[in-house]
């Protein structure tokens, strides 16, 4: 049951990406292209996606987190770190460069797979290699000792 619900929740996320236009990398790139502002080709749609998503999530989290526990789990798993370490700058910098090159971030890339796109398949395969590499390096004993991440993939 919980697994079926999570499939449905992923489906809603994917529908949101399609309705919002974010499954189209061209729209993302035209948002990131500030050179398009004077040229008249800038597409501000992504800002509206973020606004809609953050508004609903902000209100929804406030209500849900007042519950004693989640429906299918024993407790809420909320990130608690507040420190600004090098990884919270270096990681998003590397991610942002990849995002700006192709116009795909992880969610839209996965949804693009369902369009039957070979380009998306190549991107997702490469993305999985990058994810594995990051997890591998984060779990190396030397890195764990000196960098001491709480959880390498904690959001």
């Amino acid at each position: 049951m919980a697994v079926l619900i999570q499939f449905a929740i992923g489906l809603v996320f994917g529908l949101g990406l399609i309705v919002s236009g974010m499954s189209n990398p061209a729209k993302v790139l035209n948002f990131l292209d500030v050179g398009g502002i004077p040229a008249g080709t800038w597409d501000p749609s992504l800002a509206f996606v973020m606004a809609g998503a953050v508004a609903v999530t902000f209100l929804g989290f406030n209500r849900v987190l007042k519950l004693a526990r989640p429906f299918f789990a024993r407790r809420f798993y909320i990130p608690t770190r507040t420190d600004i370490d090098p990884r919270i700058i270096v990681g998003p910098t590397i991610f942002g460069i990849g995002w700006g090159m192709a116009g795909f971030c992880p969610g839209p890339a996965l949804t693009a797979l369902g369009f039957g796109s070979v380009s998306a398949l190549i991107f997702v395969a490469a993305m999985c290699v990058g994810m594995l590499l990051a997890r591998f390096i984060a779990h190396l004993p030397s890195v764990t000792r000196y960098v001491a991440p709480a959880d390498p993939v904690e959001t």
Binding site: A2, Q6, F7, I9, G10, L11, F13, G14, L15, G16, L17, I18, V19, N24, A26, K27, N30, L32, D33, V34, T41, F48, V49, M50, A51, G52, A53, V56, T57, G60, F61, V64, P70, F71, A73, I88, I89, G91, I94, F95, G98, M101, A102, F104, P106, G107, A109, L110, A112, G114, F115, S119, A120, F123, A126, L133, A138, H139, D151, T155
Partner: protein, 142 residues
């Protein structure tokens, strides 16, 4: 480049659906709807017994366009301009960076900002800036 059109209403509505999904996942599993974190945890080492749920969420993401095509008979426009070398390099950087930085557009951008997390605010500002600079260099410096 491909010209796209500003779609304020559809984008606001689609964004609200993404937010609804994040709220539902928190309600159901108590976890952040961060796609990079969910996808990366499909690979070992496995730290908990949540593989099936994560796999189902990702399957839902991939199934969404299939559902749209079944329901409406068509799919919205999708233009992927990047060639093979760019796709591979961009994919590796996106996968590595999002895991190294503990999140992507959904985990930091949507969920993190909604929780007023300072780490997520720093991360979101950083990947927005890096993406903007990258597009500028690729489109206007050649």
């Amino acid at each position: 480049m491909t010209v796209t059109f500003f779609t304020p209403l559809a984008s606001l509505l689609g964004g609200a659906l993404i937010g609804l999904s994040a709220v539902l996942l928190m309600w159901a599993t108590g976890r952040i709807a961060g796609v990079s974190g969910i996808a990366a945890r499909l690979f070992p080492p496995y730290e908990d017994g949540e593989f099936a749920g994560r796999f189902a969420f990702v399957a839902g993401l991939v199934a969404a366009p299939v559902a749209v095509r079944l329901a409406t008979g068509s799919l919205p426009e999708q233009t992927i301009a990047a060639g093979l070398p760019v796709l591979i390099v961009a994919g590796v950087l996106t996968g590595f960076g999002s895991v190294w930085g503990s999140g992507c557009t959904s985990g930091h951008g949507v969920c993190g900002l909604s929780r007023l997390s300072v780490r997520s605010l720093v991360a979101t500002g950083t990947f927005m800036a890096a993406g903007t600079v990258t597009v500028f260099v690729m489109r206007h410096w050649s």
